[in-house]
Every structure is written in C-alpha cells, then in structure tokens.
C-alpha cells in the first residue's frame, strides 16, 4: 500500500518535474531568442542545381527573385530556376561581390571585381575607373541611398549622384582614413558609415558633408585591450545600421554602437561563431553575421548560430544567452561554414557561402 502510494507520489512528482522542466525550458528558449527569428528547412544550391559557381559572395532578395553574386557571374533565382549573367551579357566583371536594389527605381547595382554595373530591365551599364569618376574597379560593397549610390572600393569610397551623374571620391586625401582601402558601406540616421581598412568606421554626415572617424581607442592590433571603449578593431570589414544601432564587423570581433556607447562581442564571451566576420547585415533589432565558422545572429543579448558538420550535410543551431547554451541538430544545415553574405525578407533567409547558397525558412 505504502509502496503503491509512493509510486503514485513519485509519478506525480516526476510528472510535475517534467511539466515544470518543459515549461521552464520553453520559457528559457523563448527568453533567449525572443527577438531573433530561427530558420530551418534549409535548402542548398550549388553548381549542380544551376549556380554558375559554388563560390558565392553576396545575396540580395529582390521581390520574387533572388540575386546571387558568384565568382563566375550574377545568378538570378526566379520561378525555381537559376539564370546566369556574365560579362558576355554586359556585366562589368564575373566576380560579383555586392548587390543592392534601389527602392525608388528598382535599378539593381552590382559591385564586381572589375567595376560597377547598373542592371535595369535586362540592360547593363558599366562604370569603371577609366570611363568615370569612380574611385576603383574593385567594388567590395555597394548600397543605394535615395538618389545616391555609394561604393566601398579598393581605392576609396565613392558617391554617385544618379541625378547629376557625378562621382565624388573619399580617400585618405580628403577623409580621415588610414588608407584608401574600404570594405563596406551602409546608410543610416542621416549618416553614411564606411568600413575603412585600418581606419575603423568613417562616419559621413549627409547634411553637413563632414566626416568623423571611429577607431579602436586602444589602438592594439592583436587584442581589444579595453572592452566597450570603441570599435573593437581598426580593421573593419562591414557596417550595417538598423533600429538606431550601427553594427560593425571586423576580423577580430563584432561591435555595436547606439550613437553613444560602443559594445564589443567576441567568440569567447558570446554566441558569436567566430571573430573572423566577413559581412554584417542588420534587420530590425537583429544583426546577422557571416563568419568563417558559420552564421550568427544576435540582438546583443541572445545569440543563434548556424553551423554545418564537417563530414555531412547536417549541422546544428546553437542558442546562447549568457551561460545558457542549447543546441539543436539540423538536417540539412547551411551549405558551408564559410559564410560571406546574407539577406532576409519576412519568412526567408538566404546565405551566401564559399560552397553554394543556402535558403532557410522561418521556424514557427
């Protein structure tokens, strides 16, 4: 009788613990990832599926189509079919490093290893350092900001006024840059933020046309001596602005700047997959970080990181909040851990990797 009652209490207790555990875990996961969408159902595309190259550098969702910059041309995914455009079709160069679409006109601007292309209604118009005032043909980043197109190039940043058809160049000659090498550019809050190699972030105020620079105050090239004192490193690879925050990617960690304070994030003290960040894209309160060891997403507190196993197509998604870490396996996962570009629209994410492009769907 006692044994029976004991068993009964034990069952109730275990059930209670299980229910509480489930509730707690669910609560915890929700708390960890409340603002970060989680993607799954990954579908990966490579040369076998119609991509011109497995090396993909960038991706941009443009309405019903997806534009992917690869090492061998521009790949366009539309109606479940890939179509490739190369220099034979009029593209400035087959190495497509960056893409943006003008919200006003729908014109597609393509930064390549050999010039800038405006692609509109099937026609290609090319700008290069010989036929225009563009600073340099190696275009790492291109963005559209109202009537302006900005490029970050190997020879400085450039601003093209699509109305007056004029270029303005910013290099170490006329801006607080360490050298003309620039890697990324973004617009936000009436400013343009240029990721300048060795020069931190160059902020250009659109109203006053004045510059200010944000550099690593400790100036140390190996480690970030004093956390949160500024951008984590002077060698910056990308910038992205959303919801009042500027996110700065470097090869030595991630920085967030809210206009007053800087905050640094590293792989050893957060859920960041790697300090080696190739690209950053901010969307709402979340920053998506393309690293050499997977894709990480964060709102500054919670982290979601997607990685792929070495020996198979599967991988995992890791949820991190402080000390709490949770892993879920994914089958399949993203195409490759070396990620270079990402774009998100509503329920879909596309990730450019060094071995194919991955498409994920929002998990509800």
């Amino acid at each position: 009788m006692i044994f029976t009652r004991f068993i009964k209490y034990l069952k109730v207790t275990v059930l209670t613990i299980v229910i509480f555990s489930i509730c707690f875990l669910k609560f915890d996961l929700n708390a960890q990832n409340s603002s970060i969408p989680v993607f799954g159902n990954w579908k990966n595309f490579t040369v076998k599926d119609g991509l011109p190259s497995d090396k993909t550098y960038c991706v941009r969702i443009d309405g019903d189509r997806v534009l992917v910059g690869t090492h061998d041309g521009l790949a366009v995914y539309e109606n479940n079919t890939w179509k490739t455009y190369t220099s034979e079709d009029g593209l400035a160069h087959n190495g497509v490093l960056s893409i943006d679409v003008c919200k006003l006109t729908g014109d597609v601007w393509i930064g390549t290893m050999g010039g800038l292309t405006r692609w509109v209604s099937g026609k290609f118009e090319n700008f290069n350092q010989f036929n225009s005032g563009m600073p340099n043909d190696l275009i790492y980043s291109v963005i559209c900001d109202e009537k302006y197109v900005w490029v970050a190039t190997g020879g400085g940043a450039g601003q093209y006024n699509t109305h007056t058809k004029k270029w303005e160049i910013f290099t170490e000659e006329n801006a607080p840059m360490h050298e003309p090498w620039t890697y990324g550019v973004c617009a936000g809050d009436d400013n343009i933020y240029i990721a300048a190699w060795g020069g931190g972030v160059i902020e250009y105020a659109k109203k006053t046309k004045k510059f200010r620079d944000h550099v690593d105050p400790d100036g140390n090239m190996e480690i970030d001596l004093f956390p949160d004192d500024g951008v984590v490193h002077d060698i910056t690879t990308g910038t992205s602005w959303a919801n009042g925050n500027l996110w700065v990617a470097t090869y030595f960690g991630l920085s967030k700047y809210d206009g007053v304070h800087w905050k640094g994030y590293f792989d050893h003290d957060s859920g960041l997959a790697s300090n080696f960040i190739n690209y950053v894209k901010a969307e709402g309160s979340v920053a998506y970080l393309c690293t050499d060891k997977g894709l990480s997403c964060t709102d500054g507190t919670n982290w979601v990181t997607y990685t792929k196993n070495k020996n198979n197509v599967n991988g995992k998604v890791v949820f991190t909040k402080g000390e709490n870490i949770k892993e879920i396996t994914m089958s399949p996962s993203i195409s490759h851990n070396f990620t270079l570009g990402v774009d998100i629209k509503k329920d879909v994410i596309w990730v450019a990797t060094s071995k194919g492009i991955s498409r994920g769907e929002l998990k509800k």
Partner: protein, 678 residues
C-alpha cells in the same frame, strides 16, 4: 584762294574715290575671296558686317523676335489651343474659332511641350532651359506654380490616375515622376540617351519614352538607340528596347486599340563614306512600329520615296478611329498621311524576314502613305481635335498653326499667331538650316546631323571613296562665331567656306547655296544659335569646391612634384577662355592610322559636358577616357601625375564650362568667395 581750296577738296575726294574704287576694291575683293574661298562672292559688306553683328543695337535693328511655335495641346471641347512659343518663352492661348491669340502667358526659358491635366483645371509647360514646369490654371490663365524637374525637361505625359506628371529630361537622360498633389518630384527613372517623346498607352499601363541619340559605340559598331518602357502603376522601368540602325526617335503615339505604338525615326548611314550621298540612301527617314503583343517586333518602314526623301520626321498622331496617322516631316515642310489599315496589312501579310528588309526599302512608302500635304516652314508638334476631325500643326518657322481637315485631307485657313511678318536674313538662314531642299534628293538638312543646332553624337566617315578613313565626330554649331577655323583639320577659315562650294561637293551633292542663301545661313549660324544654360553642372556661375580645384589644375604650371610643366603641356595654353581654344592647330597624340597626316584644330570647350563622345574621331566615350585611356604619353596635357581625385576635379571643372556669353559675365566664383574670407 577759295577756288584753290575747293579744288584741293575736290582733289581729295577724287583721290578717295579712286582709292576706294581701285586699290580699295581690290583689297576688299581679296578680303572677301579669302573669307569665302571663292572669287565671285558679291562684294557686299553687309553680308558679314551687318547680318552677323552681335552689337545689341544693330542686332535689334536687323533681327526680329519670332514666336516659333513648337508643340501644342487642345482642350476637349476643341475651342482653345495651347501653343508653346519656344522663342518667345510663352504659352499662347488660341481661340480656334476666331483663330485669334487670346492670351500670351510668360513661362520659363525655351519651353518645349504642354499638356493639359486630366480634369482640365491645369496645364503644364516644360521649360527646357529652366529645368522646371510651369503650372497654369486654365480658368485664370495664370502661372500658379513652378515645379522643379531634372535637366532639360521636354516631353510630358499624365499618369492614368491623373495624379502624376511624367517629364522627360532630355539633357539628363531620365524621366522625372512628379506628384501633382505635392507638386514635387518623387523619383527619376533612367532612359535611353537624349530622350524627348513620351506616350501613355490608352489602356493606361505602359509609357514609352523615345531617345534621340544612339548609344555611344566605337566607330564601326552598329548603331543602336533605346526605347524605354515604364510601367505606369509601379513607376519603374520595365524594359529597354534596342532599336537598331536608328536615332532621332523624336515622338511616339499609340493606336486607340493599343495594339501598336508608332514612333518617328531617322536611319543614318554614318559608316558609309559621305561621298556616297549621290548614290542615295545616306540618310533615310521613317517610322518604327512597336507591336504590343507578346514578343512583338519593332518594324521600321521608310516614309521616303526613291528620289524624294521626307527627312526629320518629328511628331506623330493617330486619329481616334485608328484609321490614319499623320507625321510632320519637318525637313521638307510636309505632313505625311499614313493609312493605318495599310500598315496593318503590311505587317500581317509580310514574312518577318522580308519586313526587316523594308527598313531599307525606299519604295515601301507608296503602300501606306496616302497623301503628302504641304505646310508652312518646319512643321513640328501635331495635335488632333478630340473628335479627330482637325489636325493642328505647329509651323515652327512660320509662326503659324496649320490646320488640316482629316477627312478631306485639305488644308484649312492657318492660324496666324501674330509673329513678325518680316523674314530677316538670319530667319531665312534658320529655315535653310532646317530644310533639306539643298541636299541631293532632300536626303537631309543641316538639322539632321546637328539636331537642336548641336551635334548628333555620331562619328562619320568623311573620306572620299575609302571606307573608314578620316572618321570624324560631329561638332556642335552652338555659338561658334569666335571659334574659327572650322572642321577638325581647321581647313575652313570661315563659315562661308565651310558651307560654300566644298560643302556641296562633299556633303549635299547638289547645287551649292546661292550667295544670298549662303549669307543667310552664315548669319544664322553665327548669330542665331545659343547654348542652353549649363544648369546641371554650373547653374549660377559659382564654382563648387571641386570645380574650383579643377580650375586650378587647368591653369597650373607646376606638377604635383613641384616640377614646372612645359607651356604646351598646360591645359590653359591651348584652351584659354572665353572659348577655351587658342584657335591653333595641334598634335595631341591622337592621330590614328585611318587619319590623313594632319594636325587637329583645338576645339572649343564651352558646354563640353554635352558633346560626348570626345576627340576628333569620338574614341573617348567620356571626358575621363581622354586621359585614362588616350593620354598615357602626356601629349594631350600633362596629367599623369594627377590622383583620381584631381582628375575628377579637372573633369568637374571642364563640365562646368558654359557658353562664352555666360563666361564673360561671371558672378562670384568659389575662389573669390572662399579665398577672400580666409
């Protein structure tokens, strides 16, 4: 004593008469011979020294202020015509019944087009040289607002909803989309080069924008111009359609059923040696028919006839019943009347391959042109009354509105807009300039290669019989009075020589101009052609910081390393203001294998921003390329020490250069304002 004095006076007068009559006349003869390069041009001092005078008092005395109607629109009830008077900077409101001008409304500079809004409350006038739109209230007939546009607004269209105005920016090669509620430009859509015409399909879905210039391409590449398709709902460019072998696509119109759109065009054979003119077929003129069905083609049909061409087709309208189309053949002062049923029959019954051949078939026009109706000088814009019964024609150089009954195809009494009745020498010259009557079989007018008195952006083979020799880039004729000698080789010391007997031998291949006509065309070219203001690059005359830095580079004598630049390596040596030419010949290292061994005339640089391509054979597509691709040896100015920023500054300064009249009256420059303050 008194007698002696009288005798001395008489002797002096006699001596003067003898001097004037013999050595003086001889000197005058020699002078005129040198100027005209012929020995029999009449010794009439007024030819040069009066009719080409730019003295404001003399000019006022010998010239007139003409109206030059260019485009027009009509109210739905057909009672009022709105006429753009381009030279008068005005919109004329004309009563069609009384045929009187009711009101002359001042608008911006060099207005181009007018369009009436959906509910006929307002009309809109594009002011091409002011970069804005005048909004005119149609009840009060007053300008109530001005809307900023892009550079060089021309053709206009209203969106299907009536909420937006599309203004084609010719100089900027884009379209301004204007919100008619806020009266602000909300976006700009890129187009083909030098666009003007725009038309919205009757079903209100598609807008076509025509281009006048072909895409810049190396000599030898086939000519391609672009027709731009814009979606009226999304206000986005949806297609750039290549139109091969054609340019000067001035205007376009839809059939009422929207099954076809038809544009005017010219087909130049610029790669053929110009001496081939007498073989015919050098410049042909026609229409481009754009099928609106899926995978529709563009079929080009010529309006010309084998021995009689109909050059410079400008506007096209189609009757509401879709049966007839009217084209203003502005180079011969005719309206070509087209049977649309015949056009459709040709399209339906001809295999696609054969249709392509029709683009070069001179005789095809007899299958669809049902009548040619003579008009006043230089017919431009056309407008049909709402019922389609009357066609109104802006007779640009007649200062009249021609009227044609579209049923009888007979002319009715024209509407005299009240311009000057006297035809001045320069006005006569302008008519000659725009008329092909002096060219073999009327193949082309001066205007054809020099639209808007400028240049057409093409490179022509000016050799005798050899293909590909002496290829030259067409030069602008704007304000060239002080820039002699002419031609790239500088062989013509005057416009008289340029347009004299050699001109007829090489280019027109017919009788040379009579000396009266030569006087007239010279007077027009030397006095009547103005530069548009350089509103995109230098609207006020005050240089930007970059332009000012560029000016310093232009004038510099020391390079970046502190070394002195040889005098012939400095920009300003060969390109001094106000024309930015020293009027000398020079070798800048650009002679090509196809050129005869010559030096080149140093070109003037006023408004150089609008004259791409560059260099004598048009090899440089942009100003940058003059130095990045073709200036490696520093023979065309010492530039290779410059940074990219410096080169951009130099180009920015070059693009800021305006016409000589503007350059003479400069306001405060960046230098004055900024350096004085320091």
């Amino acid at each position: 004593m008194k007698k002696t004095r009288l005798l001395i006076l008489f002797g002096i007068i006699l001596l003067l008469v003898v001097i004037i009559a013999y050595p003086g006349r001889k000197l005058a003869r020699a002078h005129v011979n040198e100027r005209t390069a012929v020995t029999d041009h009449p010794l009439l001092c007024s030819s040069c020294h009066l009719y080409t005078s730019q003295n404001k008092y003399v000019s006022k005395f010998i010239n007139e202020d003409y109206l030059s109607p260019f485009n027009l629109d009509i109210m739905n009830d057909g009672e009022k015509l709105l006429v753009v008077a381009q030279d008068a900077n005005a919109l004329l409101v004309v009563d069609t019944k009384s045929k009187k001008v009711l009101k002359n409304i001042n608008v911006g500079i060099h207005p181009h087009s007018v369009i009436i809004g959906k509910e006929e409350k307002f009309c809109y006038v594009s002011n091409q040289w002011s970069d804005n739109i005048s909004v005119i209230h149609l009840k009060t007939l007053a300008v109530v607002d001005t809307i900023k546009t892009g550079n060089g607004p021309s053709g206009l269209s209203i969106s299907n909803s009536g909420e937006y105005l599309y203004a084609v920016n010719t100089f900027g090669s884009d379209v301004s989309v204007i919100d008619l509620v806020s009266k602000e430009e909300i976006k700009r859509i890129s187009t083909g080069s030098d666009p003007t015409g725009i038309a919205l399909s009757p079903k209100g879905k598609n807008l076509y924008v025509t281009s006048r210039r072909a895409k810049i391409a190396p000599y030898g590449d086939p000519l391609i111009s672009e027709l731009t398709l814009i979606n009226d709902n999304t206000q986005r460019l949806t297609k750039q359609i290549s139109v091969p072998s054609a340019y000067l696509m001035e205007n376009i119109a839809f059939t009422p059923s929207s099954d076809l759109a038809i544009m005017t065009l010219t087909r130049p054979k610029n790669l053929v040696p110009s001496i081939q003119v007498e073989g015919g077929w050098m410049m042909t003129h026609g229409i481009g028919i754009v099928e609106q069905k899926e995978d529709g083609k563009i079929i080009q049909l010529l309006l010309d006839e084998p021995n009689s061409y109909y050059p410079n087709p400008f506007d096209i309208v189609i009757t509401p019943d879709g049966k007839k189309a009217f084209v203003s053949s502005s180079g011969v002062d005719y309206i070509s009347v087209i049977s649309m049923d015949s056009i459709k029959n040709i399209l339906a019954s001809t295999p696609a391959k054969k249709l392509k051949l029709y683009a070069n078939t001179l005789g095809i026009s007899k299958r669809f042109v049902i009548k040619r109706i003579k008009t006043g000088a230089n017919p431009k814009g056309l407008k049909l009354s709402a019922d389609g019964e009357l066609l109104y024609i802006a007779e640009n150089l007649e200062d009249k509105i021609g009227v044609i009954n579209t049923k009888t195809l007979e002319k009715e009494q024209s509407i005299d807009l009240g311009g000057p009745t006297r035809i001045t020498v320069a006005r006569k010259g302008r008519r000659l300039f725009n008329n092909a009557g002096h060219t073999f079989q009327n193949q082309y007018a001066c205007y054809t290669c020099h639209p808007d008195n400028h240049e057409d952006g093409l490179v022509y083979n000016m050799a005798g019989k050899d293909m590909g020799r002496n290829v030259t880039n067409t030069q602008s004729l704007r304000e060239i009075k002080g820039t002699a000698p002419f031609k790239w080789n500088g062989k013509n010391q005057t416009v008289y020589k340029q347009d004299g007997i050699r001109f007829s031998t090489v280019l027109t291949r017919t009788e040379q101009f009579s000396y009266d006509d030569l006087d007239a065309i010279t007077a027009y070219i030397k006095t009547g052609i103005k530069y548009p203001p350089n509103l995109m690059n230098n609207p006020s005359g005050e240089l930007t910081e970059s332009q000012y830095r560029g000016k310093k580079l232009f004038n510099r004598s020391i390079d970046n390393s502190g070394k002195e630049i040889p005098e012939n390596g400095r920009c300003v040596t060969c390109h001094p203001a106000p024309f930015y030419t020293n009027l000398q010949l020079a070798d800048v290292g650009t002679l090509s294998e196809s050129d005869d061994p010559i030096l080149f005339d140093t070109p003037h640089l006023n408004n150089i921003y609008s004259s791409a391509p560059y260099l004598h054979d048009g090899r440089a597509e942009t100003l940058e390329e003059i130095w990045t691709l073709y200036g490696e040896e520093d023979e065309h100015g010492y530039v290779n020490d410059m940074t990219k920023i410096q080169l951009n500054d130099l180009v920015a300064y070059l693009k800021s250069l305006r016409g000589p009249e503007y350059e003479k009256s400069k306001p405060e420059s960046y230098a004055n304002v900024h350096l004085t303050n320091k």
